[in-house]
Structures are given as C-alpha cells and as structure tokens.
C-alpha cells in the first residue's frame, strides 16, 4: 500500500496587479479592495449588460497542475525542477500549509515538514526553551522532546550555551541547534526543503549522515534540492517538475539526467527572447559534456553563446558569462578579453573552463552582453540568468586527492595546485 497517494492535484493562485516575484500575492491594502469593488460596481451600473469586467484584471496562475503519483513506504524521493517549477508549492500542499485547489491526497502516517530550520525560534528565549518550543511546532509531544533532549543537545554541540538566549548565538550555533531539533523528529514521512545547505562542512556531513540514517530506518523522505549530487546520493526515486506539471517520475539518476536534458534543450530552443535595440541572444550551449549534463572534476568544458549585433555602436559589446552555484549565489563572472568595436553581424563567443577547476555540484550559467561606451558608461544589452546548467561530479578516483575520505569537500572551486613537500631535517 502506498504511503502517499496524490490524485489530480492542482494549486491555483489568483494574481492581481500586485504580483510579486514569488508568485503569491502580497497583502492588499483595504483601499485596493474597496476601490476595486467600487469600480466594478460603478461599471455594472453604467453597463448593466456588458460582461463582467472585473475578471480582466485577475490572472490565474497554476503553480501545480494535474499531479498524479504514489509513494511507497520507505521511499526516498528527490524532487527537482527549476525555480518556479512548483516544488515548494508541492511540499506546502503535502504538509498542509496551504490548501490544494483541485484533487485529493491520501497520507498514511505522521508527517513532519522541514521547510526551514528554526521555524518559531524566539530570539529572546534560551536554547533550552527553544528546543521545547521548536519541537512542539514541528509536531513532537513534550514527552518525546524530554526523552530526546540530551540527544538533541549532544548533536547540536551547544551544551555550554543552553541557558543563553539564542539571540546571542552565532549563526552557526543557531543553525546547529535548529537542525538538531529537526533531526530528532520521528515521523513516518519527512518532508525536507534544502535545509541541509547550512552550517559548516563538518556539520553538513553530520546532517547528511543523519538523513541517511533516517532513510535506512525505513522512513519515507521527500527532499527538494538543487544539488543533484545530493539527490542522486540520497534518493532512489526522483520526480521532475516543470511549470507545475509532473514531467518525470522514476529512478533518481534518470530524473537528474532528464532534468538537465530538459533545461539545456529548452535553452537551445530559447523560447524567451533576450534582446535590445542593439543586440540579440541567438543561443547558448555547453560543449564537451560527457553525458548530457555531467562533467567530472577532472574535465573542462566550453561555454558558447551566439548573438547578433544589429547596428554599429560607439562602444564595445563585451560578452560575459556568469556562473552560479546551486543556492543561487555567484561562483564567478568572466568577460571576454581584447574586445574591439565590432561591426554588425552574427558572432560566436566561447569561453573555456579549465579542467580541474570547478568543485562538485550543480552550476548555472548566465549569458550576458554588455556595451561599454567611451564616456565610461555601460549598458546591459541582454542577460539570461538561467541559460544553462551542468553538474560536476567527483569520480572519487586517485586523481581526486581524497586518500579515502568520502565526505564533501567544501568550496566553489576545486583547483589542483602545485604542491611540494621536502624533508628539511630529521
């Protein structure tokens, strides 16, 4: 029997003129509603027979649509998709934070959701008090928290500061305590939203270990992450969401492949247009990937963009690539060198990423063209922030310099530098 059964699930948001980038709508002021209603009423009075004009201002947005899947007990399911694909909405619906618009979900078991560590932590309360509070918020009973209290404190490594208000904690301590509480939840189903990307490397490793342990105990985990390496390590099953629809459900490794295939294909087609009156992006691609999207840390690759310059300008049009890591922060930016004033035409810019340079993980590449003018000013002609994605993996062979260490090695880059060790004295 399946532990989670989802049928025909849909979630609709109504978005008005005050749409914010998150997709949900922010609180309207009373005035907005009043004027809106009054205007509608006035329109009715003037044109009683015309169709309802109010609807034209309201736009529907389906964050999730026609989702259908079943999850078996003990499954570890990775949920992947681009930003805005509906991953977070799915987790929110499954954990009952928000109500679905259509469909039905059957859940057989206790659910705990970790959409953020430290939910409900109060800065004025001590660590001890916050453990009880946060535990209760996450669904533990007081008895449960009491029996696990020592374990939690142990795991978080903060026993000395247990009676200090958490506002005096360092951010590392705060996160450790928050995760420690969450890690000791005992639900049948655990819903996790990329909270593992916190804390220092050593603590991350501890968290991953804990997640694996939870998985081994036969509990069901739903896990959203941009970190493909983590998904393929931790999950057997994968789910790809795209624009609110379920695009793939099956083996985790296939899901990851499918995800990259999709994103890069879509980008090759380039449905959205990035252009200005001066220039236009024609396409972007990655050259030299071994299988669709994967690259080992020992390989290099070439990033390519094609663009058209429509007219001669009084300045230099410089292509540049922006590299982001999975949490959306910048890895680095590089611009083309020795650019001169170029006549109109179609151009191809390539940039080589050297081998043994990037670290493990997912990278996103943004492609941009910037014009620099004689006067010292500049203008961004186009910038496709999410043009390309690829995944770097560590084959864990002798070239990886691991000496048997299997955990994550932190950092955005992982260059192999020249080393020498010489014996100086006995």
């Amino acid at each position: 029997m399946s532990i989670i059964k989802v049928e025909n699930l849909g979630k609709k948001y109504i978005i008005g003129h005050d749409l914010n980038p998150g997709g949900a709508y922010r609180s309207r002021s009373l005035r907005d509603t009043l004027t809106h209603t009054a205007r509608g009423f006035y329109q009715r009075l003037r044109h009683p027979l015309s169709p309802n004009t109010e609807n034209t201002e309201i736009e529907e947005f389906w964050a999730l649509r026609d989702l259908q899947f079943e999850i078996e007990p003990g499954d570890r399911v990775g949920i992947i998709g681009r930003n805005g694909a509906g991953k977070s909405t799915l987790l929110k619906v499954l954990s009952r934070i928000t109500e679905p618009t259509t469909g039905r979900i059957e859940i057989s078991g206790r659910v705990a959701s970790l959409l953020e560590v430290g939910t409900g932590f109060h800065p004025e309360l001590t660590g001890r008090e916050n453990i009880y509070l946060n535990g209760a918020i996450l669904g533990m009973t007081r008895g449960e928290i009491k029996t696990k209290f020592d374990e939690i404190v142990d795991f978080s490594e903060i026993e000395k500061f247990l009676d200090t208000p958490v506002k005096r904690y360092s951010s590392g301590m705060y996160v450790r305590l928050a995760f420690a509480v969450a890690a000791h939840l005992d639900p049948e189903i655990l819903i996790v939203d990329e909270v593992l990307a916190v804390g220092d490397a050593q603590f991350q490793k501890k968290c991953l270990g804990k997640m694996e342990e939870v998985g081994r105990e036969g509990r069901t985990i739903l896990f959203v992450s941009h970190n493909m390496a983590m998904i393929s390590n931790l999950c057997q099953t994968g789910m790809v969401l795209n624009e609110g629809k379920l695009e793939f459900f099956g083996q985790a490794s296939d899901a990851v492949t499918r995800y990259y295939q999709n994103t890069n294909q879509r980008d090759a087609a380039h449905k959205r247009e990035f252009k200005s009156d001066t220039a236009e992006l024609l396409g972007a691609e990655l050259v030299g990937l071994s299988n669709l999207s994967d690259l080992t840390i020992h390989d290099g690759l070439t990033v390519r963009m094609r663009y058209r310059l429509k007219r001669q300008i009084d300045g230099k049009c410089v292509p540049n690539f922006h590299f982001f890591v999975s949490d959306g922060s910048y890895a680095f930016v590089d611009s083309a060198k020795d650019v001169t004033n170029m006549p109109p035409g179609i151009y191809r810019a390539e940039c080589k990423i050297p081998r043994q340079f990037l670290n493990e993980g997912a990278y996103f590449v943004g492609v941009a063209l910037t014009s620099y003018f004689e006067s010292g000013s500049f203008k961004i002609e186009f910038f496709d922030r999410n043009a390309l994605t690829f995944n770097v993996v560590d084959p864990m062979d002798e070239r990886s310099n691991r000496y048997g260490y299997g955990g994550p090695i932190p950092g955005v880059v992982r260059p192999r530098l020249d080393w020498s060790i010489a014996k100086e004295s006995q």
């Binding site: 002021s29 928000t98 679905p100 259509t102 939910t119 009973t141 007081r142």
Partner: protein, 271 residues
C-alpha cells in the same frame, strides 16, 4: 496508523480534531508569549502591576476628583479598578491577538497547525495579567476596608463574557489583518475608542435611562457592569442591558470565528 485525506475544499473536515491534537502547542505558545513579554525589561513582571495602577490613579483624579462623577458609595479607586480589570483583559487580548498572526508569519508559512491557536494564546497572556490585577484589587479593597458580598462568586461568569467578546473581535481582526494590513492601524483606534465609550472611568448609571438599552449594545458595558455588581456590591444591575450584551458578545464570537475560518485557508498564501 493515522490516515489523513486532504481534498480540495474539504480540508476543514478534521478541524476540531486537530485543535485538540495541537493543545500542547497551544500551551507552549502561550508559555512563550508570557516568557517573552517581560524579558529584557528592567522591572519585568512589575509592569503588569504598574500599568493598571497608574491608569487607575489617572482615572480617579480625572473622573472622581475633577469631573466629580458619582462613586456608588465606594472609594472611587475601587469603582475604577473593578472596571479596569475586565477592560484591560479585553483590550490587551484584542491588541496582542489582533497582530499575532502577522507577527508569527514565518511560522504560518512554514508549518501546519490550526491557525486559531495563535490569536487564542493572546488571551492566556492577558489572563495572567488579569490574575495579577486581581491581587492588586484585593490589596486596594483591604486598604479601603471594603468587604465584597457573596456576589463575587459570579466574577468568573463575567470574565467568561469578556473572553467571548474579546475572542470574537480578536479572531476577526487578526484574520483581516493578514490580508489587509490596514487593521494594524485601525486596532489602536478601536481600543482607544472603546475605552471612551465603555464605562471604565465612570459608572454606567450616569447614562440616562432611555439610552441604557442602546448603550448596552457595547458588550463591554455588560461585562463592566457585571464586574461592578459583583465587586462593589451595592450598584444595581441593569439586567435587560446585560442580556443584550451577552447576545451581542456571542454573536461577535460566532461571526469572528466564521470570518477566521473562511480567511484561514489562504493565510499561508497571503501573509
């Protein structure tokens, strides 16, 4: 094993079962609010004593000495304090509760629990302040050598009425506040306005008889009259007005709860 069915439009089916299941969280949140309230204040819990005491002194001077309002045969401070007890309970519940959902936005958008427990905890905090105020009142009565009659046993009933009225208003305002932040600005106004139209600083006997019934449309009039009737002892009770107050308080609660439940569904999306 627990089996949970989430169906579009049917989520509220297990509403009351959930409230029961989350009672521990309710108590913990109330405990948190009580703890937090006076952390990092120098005199801490003494504020609970000081606030009603200072208000009482000001009201006694303004209404008792300057305006020379009738005191129903007791010391004016007792007359005022008997009314301040339920009024402060009501106003602080509405004030804290009205903003409570917005103040706990991160929790609402990240975890599930019956949302109604958040504004309800505000009442528990006010209840603790109320109990402290009862002690002050006892001290006052001792000082003025005022002995309450047997009627004092009805005090919990009037407190219950105050709670009903307070929760009705709190549910409504807290829910509306999530969608329309205007209510954040309306709230202090409502409370201040309420203080003037409720018989806190004066006895409601000063209201002309023909207006008494209409005056009782404010549920707090019934509550305050009840408190005075129970504590002061020799003030007459205007029963028709009292029952109107009761009816309106219950109506407020029903409407407030209804508004809350209807708006609750979109809290996480809107907050």
């Amino acid at each position: 094993m627990v089996k949970l069915v989430i169906e579009a439009g049917q989520v509220n089916r297990q509403y009351f079962k959930d409230i029961l299941a989350y009672r521990e969280l309710f108590l913990l949140l109330a405990w948190r609010d009580v703890l937090v309230r006076y952390k990092q204040t120098i005199i801490g819990i003494a504020w609970s004593v000081l606030r009603p005491l200072l208000t009482m002194i000001v009201f006694t001077i303004v209404f008792g000495r300057l305006a020379k309002m009738p005191s129903e045969g007791v010391a004016y401070p007792i007359l005022v304090f008997a009314a301040l007890l339920p009024w402060q309970f009501f106003s602080s519940t509405v004030n804290e509760g009205g903003n409570s959902l917005v103040n706990n936005a991160s929790m609402i958008s990240k975890v599930y629990f019956p949302r109604i427990i958040i504004p309800t905890t505000a009442m528990i905090v006010s209840l603790i302040d109320f109990l402290i105020s009862i002690l002050i009142l006892s001290a006052l009565m001792f000082w003025y050598q005022h002995v309450p009659t047997w009627r004092v046993v009805f005090l919990p009933m009037f407190l219950g009425l105050a709670a009903i009225a307070a929760m009705g208003v709190t549910y409504m305002i807290s829910a509306l506040n999530v969608k329309y932040r205007d209510f954040r600005h309306v709230l202090p106004f409502i409370i201040q306005f309420g203080l003037y139209i409720s018989p806190v600083g004066f006895s409601s006997t000063v209201v002309p008889d023909k207006w008494r019934l209409i005056y009782s449309l404010n549920p707090m009039v019934g509550v305050i009259d009840g408190f005075r009737w129970a504590i002061v002892g020799n003030t007459p009770m205007y029963w028709p007005g009292f029952f109107i107050s009761v009816g309106l308080a219950v109506l407020l609660l029903v409407v407030g709860f209804g508004v809350f439940r209807r708006m609750e569904r979109e809290f996480a999306d809107v907050i």
